[in-house]
């Protein structure tokens, strides 16, 4: 049974199903072999690309320094960039763009400027990921002149990924006038982490605060009710801005609005902790008894900054009997912040099971 005859004999003497199995397995084996060859080719090609990129960057680098330090005009470097290599060039500039600010950043942006029209085209249409990258580059190298493009993208029906990127960059480049547009977009992106969105709103600066406040109280009218999610991110952004006028707004909302979403409540309490005045404590107190644990936590924390002597007893109750340890811990911290040491000492002396919570809070004996 030599090698030559094997290939003739085997198919004829093999039962059908086994033959199918064999050919499928063999086909896959061969396919994998071919794929390996292709991958090897790609590997060598990639290595060549890497080497070329290294050479290219080595040539760009000294000129970049000269342009940044105003020893040479931007053209000195731009002239060395082949129009087809603009993508590689912008990738080369990116780490520098996220490192520097101030004057040199302006020079860096001047370097990228000739290539931005192409980037803008890419941001407008194409695969979502490519658009996302283009948008990020616009945010990094572009300026206020690109704001209309970002606004248009937010108004059209773009994929989430693109919306998210456009929103982020609008936060960087846009103005307070863009808040309503951003808030409308948020409603479509409720999967996103809250902090991310709040930071976008925060970046628009304090001019945005009045718009955020009106979104918080839901002034738009019943036809266009703001979702709890939007109100939460507005409250967060206001908190980061340290916007004092929103203190009374938050207190009023907490006092008058019976059916607020617990998430919104908690964010209002956080806001009050940051910007509230002692007389707002009255709006906070009832929430120490809220059935929702995280509302109690934030109520206790808010009392830590706004409270007074009369809050000692309710906070001590929270510390001792609340079934949630985080509430107890927040209450302990609040007491320490208010410098009401007596309840903490009592807990310590009773060797209460929760005494470990106040470790480090009590002032040292001497």
């Amino acid at each position: 049974m030599g090698g030559l005859t094997l290939f003739d004999w085997l198919p004829r003497s093999t039962p059908g199903p086994l033959l199918v199995l064999m050919s499928v397995a063999l086909a896959f084996f061969l396919l994998a072999g071919i794929a390996a060859l292709v991958a090897m080719g790609i590997h060598l090609f990639d290595k060549w690309l890497d080497r070329r990129q290294c050479r290219e960057r080595a040539a760009w680098r000294p000129r970049l320094y000269e342009v940044l330090m105003q020893e040479a005009a931007p053209a000195a470097l731009i002239d060395h960039v082949h129009p087809l290599r603009f993508d590689a060039f912008l990738a080369f500039l990116t780490p520098y763009a996220s490192t520097i600010e101030g004057n040199e950043m302006n020079h860096l942006q001047a370097l990228a400027r000739p290539f931005l029209p192409v980037v803008c085209e890419r941001a407008k249409a194409g695969p979502p990921l490519r658009r996302t990258r283009a948008l990020r580059r616009i945010g990094l190298f572009g300026g206020s002149r690109h704001v209309p493009l970002l606004r248009t993208i937010l108004q059209e029906d773009a994929p989430d990924l693109v919306l998210r990127a456009a929103m982020r960059e609008l936060g960087r480049l846009g103005t307070a006038a863009d808040v309503p547009l951003i808030l409308e977009t948020i409603d479509q992106l409720t999967d996103m982490d809250r902090r991310q969105i709040s930071s976008i709103l925060y970046e628009l600066g304090e001019e945005a605060a009045p718009v955020l406040r009106s979104a918080l109280v839901n002034e738009v009218g019943p036809s266009q009710e703001r979702s709890p999610f939007v109100r939460v991110v507005c409250a967060e952004a206001l908190r980061w801005l340290g916007d004092a006028p929103s203190g009374p707004t938050a207190a009023t909302l907490l006092r008058t609005n019976e059916d607020l979403d617990p998430e919104v409540r908690a964010s209002l309490l956080r806001l009050l902790r940051r910007v509230g005045r002692p007389h707002h404590a009255a709006a906070v107190r009832p929430y120490c008894e809220s059935p929702v644990a995280f509302v109690r936590i934030h109520a206790a924390r808010a009392l830590g900054s706004l409270g007074a002597a009369r809050d000692e007893a309710p906070l001590e109750t929270r510390l001792r009997i609340d079934d949630n340890r985080w509430v107890a811990l927040s209450a302990a911290n609040a007491l320490a912040e208010l410098e009401r040491w007596a309840p903490l000492h009592r807990l310590h002396d009773d060797s209460h099971p929760r005494a470990s919570l106040i470790a480090g809070l009590l002032p040292s004996p001497e």
């Binding site: 330090m69 780490p95 520097i100 600010e101 101030g102 004057n103 040199e104």
Partner: protein, 149 residues
């Protein structure tokens, strides 16, 4: 508009440097973040300083044991020995260690300065301003050589 910044830095921050007697004081750049190191190096070089760049805290530590640079710029997240450790490892302000880290954590900056860092530069930074800060640290050390010890 842009020139105002340059004027300001050369007037306020670099003023004591003009009659600085030893422009050649070398500076150790212990930074893993290459763009930061490159940009600082270019600025400091053009102002006549020699720079040595390492990307590992252990190399930085070794270098400091044999050489005595005029100042050190160290990354807060430097591997091997973090910038904070380097501050602790050298005698106070001998050489002065300037930390360089990401923006965003004020508490960390305050603590680092309290614990003996000569300065703290946050990224993103303006390279000329950052270089001027490093040079200021150098010049103070030269002006008051015994003050720190």
């Amino acid at each position: 508009m842009g020139d105002a910044l340059v004027d300001l830095t050369s007037l306020n921050l670099c003023a004591p440097m003009r009659d600085s007697p030893s422009p050649k004081a070398s500076i150790l750049l212990a930074l893993e973040h290459r763009p930061s190191a490159e940009l600082l190096r270019e600025h400091l070089r053009r102002q006549g300083h020699e720079t040595v760049h390492v990307e590992d805290g252990r190399d930085a530590h070794q270098y400091l044991e044999t050489e005595s640079p005029g100042a050190v710029v160290a990354g807060t997240r430097l591997p091997g020995r973090t910038g904070r450790e380097l501050v602790r490892l050298v005698p106070p302000f001998d050489p002065p260690v300037v930390l360089l880290g990401r923006r965003g954590n004020d508490g960390e900056v305050v603590q680092a300065l309290e614990q003996g860092a000569a300065d703290y530069i946050t990224r993103p930074f303006s390279p000329p301003v950052a270089a001027a800060r490093v040079r200021r640290v150098l010049s103070f050390r030269e002006a008051f050589p015994h003050a720190a010890a």
